[in-house]
């Protein structure tokens, strides 16, 4: 069957199970958009900026565990994707980014809207392609999706010259991928697993640190089995939130710079760390040289390059988290660590990291907690970056996988709105709350138009403190309150929402919070609430930059300790 390159691309996307793409057309990709009406099963969502498209694709990918797809034209369209591709790369999100390129004869001539996007994205993609003939298209798409979703997932970019879309070729979709340089290890080495089991069986103060790898591998059940069988407390990284139910008695919440004090203290006291699908990021470990100083470390990860990268590991196991845990769980002997668990309970009592202080002020922690109360925890939360992100991580209790979507590695402000949009497209039946800061929200505010056009019932909570809050917090704590370039005026967000055709409410008083959230939930479509919160609220606990993980700043106010 002879098809043109654009048709081959569409056929191939359908073969890969693609249902939705987020993108913006432009000169180089018109031939692709031109054939889209022939493929009604490929839904295209027009965003208002390519950054919106790429973050939406990541939100979609993370809510569903499927490959997210975004499309942009050559030149500026492609460069606008860069931030979102980097975010997907650092957080191991499966993504395929399709970019147009100038026609083959113009490549290298600095043609209009020509940019070397495969060169630019080299360090932020798992792999990328420049398709030089329509006949290569199907094979490239097959490989790209395979690479994006297997092993340690990540973004793959496919750059397609304009004339390749038009060129005709025989369409035959390859049923096999043969990449001799890419064969991820799935099964862990049995001897290593045995060694790990022995360490676990002998440990007195074992501790599991669960990361995003558990979610990617859909291994939450195996993780729970391990924790319960050997009675091992579980803490998660920021991106591992949801991999283990936070309501579970063995859950200690999140570790790291803004982690729970008791979780960080546990890391310091443990004699064995079982790190599962996490990469010892500096925000998680704090000062790496004193991280888990008294512990042996077992590290399970599908990416061999993560082993020993930041922290010295005693027993490395390279493999898929689920596959490894399945075998490991068989070798674990049931055990109780009564002393250890009760020690942790004591710390949890003495250092209640997420107790909301009693005040009549409208504070952000209360807003997040009320979203939890009103939704009964049954929602997907998509956060921005900064203070709003930390409060959203701390004060909402996550009990299901993939209900917490946040860009942890790159930390791009402006992630929240488009990613929430993508999550809602992925899971139309779920309640999706976008928890934004007033700074980040203004970076991708234009996607309100997409939300309205596509009738996506995203609920938006702006934690509006009129500051670039996290930077302000650092200025307060480490730069003697010199608030340089952090005070921020914003528009009237409710009016902005209204202008985009989206309903909204402003909340200035604590007593209005719950009813506003209820109104948003009852409203059929998208809804925006502008929570005008205390401007100088800080995120606690906090491990100051450069300090060891147990050197924790807790909320200094006296009222913080409410029993």
């Amino acid at each position: 069957m002879k098809l043109n390159g654009a048709q081959i691309l569409c056929e191939s996307l359908l073969k890969e199970g693609v249902e939705v793409m987020f993108g913006i057309p432009g000169g180089a990709v018109i031939p692709f958009y031109d054939v889209l009406p022939e493929y009604p099963k490929l839904r295209h969502i027009l965003t208002r900026h390519e950054q919106g498209a790429v973050h939406a694709a990541e939100g979609y990918a993370r809510a569903l565990g499927k490959v997210g797809v975004c499309v942009a034209t050559s030149g500026p369209g492609a460069t606008n994707l860069v931030t979102g591709i980097a975010s997907a790369y650092l957080d191991s999100s499966p993504m395929v980014a399709l970019t147009g390129q100038v026609a083959r004869p113009s490549i290298g001539k600095d043609a209009f809207q020509e940019i070397d996007i495969t060169g630019i994205t080299l360090p932020i993609t798992k792999h990328n392609y420049l398709v030089t003939a329509a006949a290569d298209m199907a094979g490239v798409v097959r490989e790209a999706f395979h690479i994006a979703r297997t092993g340690r997932p990540g973004p793959v970019l496919i750059d397609i010259p304009r004339d390749v879309f038009i060129e005709e070729a025989e369409f035959r979709y390859p049923d096999k991928v043969n990449l001799r340089g890419y064969k991820p290890t799935i099964q862990g080495h049995p001897a290593q697993i045995k060694k790990a089991a022995n360490l676990i069986n002998e440990a007195c103060r074992p501790l599991i640190i669960a990361g995003r790898g558990v979610l990617i591998s859909r291994a939450s059940a195996h993780l729970k089995e391990l924790a319960e069988k050997a009675q091992i407390p579980v803490i998660t990284t920021l991106l591992g939130i949801g991999s283990f139910p936070e309501s579970h008695i063995l859950s200690l919440g999140m570790l790291g710079m803004h982690g729970m004090a008791y979780a960080n203290m546990a890391v310091n006291a443990a004699d064995l760390i079982i790190a599962i699908g996490m990469r010892f990021d500096d925000r998680a470990t704090a000062k790496v040289s004193s991280f888990a100083a008294h512990a042996k470390v077992i590290h399970i990860d599908v990416d061999p390059a993560e082993i020993g990268k930041n922290v010295k590991v005693d027993v490395p196991i390279v493999g898929d988290v689920g596959a490894v845990l399945q075998v490991l769980n068989r070798d674990i002997t049931p055990k109780n660590h009564v002393e250890w668990v009760s020690q942790l309970d004591e710390w949890r009592r003495d250092h209640p990291s997420t107790v909301i202080r009693e005040t009549d002020d409208l504070i952000p922690q209360y807003v997040v907690r009320q979203i939890y109360e009103v939704t009964k925890g049954d929602a997907i939360i998509v956060s921005g970056v900064g203070q709003n992100q930390m409060w959203a991580a701390q004060y909402f209790e996550y009990n299901r996988p993939n209900t917490w979507i946040s860009s942890g590695g790159l930390g791009p402000m402006g992630f929240e709105l488009p990613a929430a949009m993508g999550a809602k497209v992925a899971c139309p039946e779920e309640t999706v709350w976008c928890i934004a800061g007033d700074g980040g929200f203004q970076m991708t505010i234009q996607e309100l138009a997409t939300i309205e056009q596509e009738k996506l019932a995203v609920k938006i909570a702006i934690i509006n403190n009129r500051f670039l809050g996290m930077v302000r917090q650092w200025q307060e704590l480490f730069y003697e309150r010199r608030y340089v370039a952090t005070p921020l005026s914003g528009p009237d967000f409710v009016k902005v929402a209204d202008a985009y055709g989206i309903a909204g409410l402003r909340v200035t008083d604590k007593v209005m919070v719950t009813s506003a959230i209820e109104t948003a939930m009852e409203h059929q479509g998208p809804f925006l609430i502008d929570f005008q919160v205390e401007p100088e609220e800080n995120v606690y606990p906090m491990v100051p930059p450069g300090a060891a993980i147990h050197e924790i700043l807790e909320e200094p106010r006296k009222e913080a300790r409410v029993v």
């Binding site: 080299l122 360090p123 798992k126 690479i147 990449l179 001799r180 340089g181 990416d303």
Partner: protein, 186 residues
């Protein structure tokens, strides 16, 4: 810190050298030399990359290299006992007075004269870096106009190859032949 020889078998495709070189830059390594050519397998190129670094940091960069889709296999053969060679061309100033002395030195090093002009000679030498360096030092006195060096290519000694393209249950380690001296040091 020590010099490490990494051997990478890579897909023979456009952009691969860029991917490899960019990775070293990103991880903060200075490539001392890199030599690329065809390997014994069609479609695969062989790179010999020499970098300075601690064993752990080189191991980290090796693993990062291995993650590149176009890189089929990377091995650090530094510890394995290897034969390393490079080729160099020197253009040396010469006069009728110095010509015979230069020829003598070249002869001792089993190097060759590959071009002669009225006031210069081109010397071709093959060997490990030490040998190339010593010849360079000796010829320097006569005045060197131009130097071109290929950088190191290397291969592990013994029967086993360090590089296994097809997946096998166990990685074949090169066997070190005991007592095998580097007989062609000069």
């Amino acid at each position: 810190m020590a010099k490490h020889s990494l051997i990478a078998l890579v897909e023979d495709r456009p952009g691969v050298l860029n991917r490899v070189a960019s990775l070293f830059r990103r991880r903060g390594f200075n490539i001392e030399s890199i030599a690329v050519g065809h390997s014994e397998t069609p479609g695969l190129s062989r790179m010999t990359i020499v970098v300075d670094g601690t064993a752990t940091s080189v191991e980290q960069v090796r693993k990062q290299l291995d993650k590149l889709i176009d890189v089929v296999k990377v091995t650090d053969i530094t510890e394995d006992g290897l034969v390393a060679r490079e080729l160099a061309l020197f253009k040396v100033k010469s006069t009728s007075a110095t010509r015979s002395e230069i020829l003598q030195i070249v002869d001792i090093f089993r190097a060759n004269i590959v071009d002669v002009a009225s006031d210069s000679m081109m010397v071709e030498v093959t060997g490990d870096e030490d040998k190339v360096d010593s010849l360079f030092r000796l010829l320097k006195g006569f005045g060197i106009r131009e130097v071109a060096r290929t950088g190191r290519i290397a291969m592990a000694r013994g029967a086993g190859g360090p590089i296994v393209v097809e997946e096998k249950p166990k990685r074949a380690r090169p066997k070190r032949v005991k007592g095998a001296e580097e007989i062609s040091n000069l």
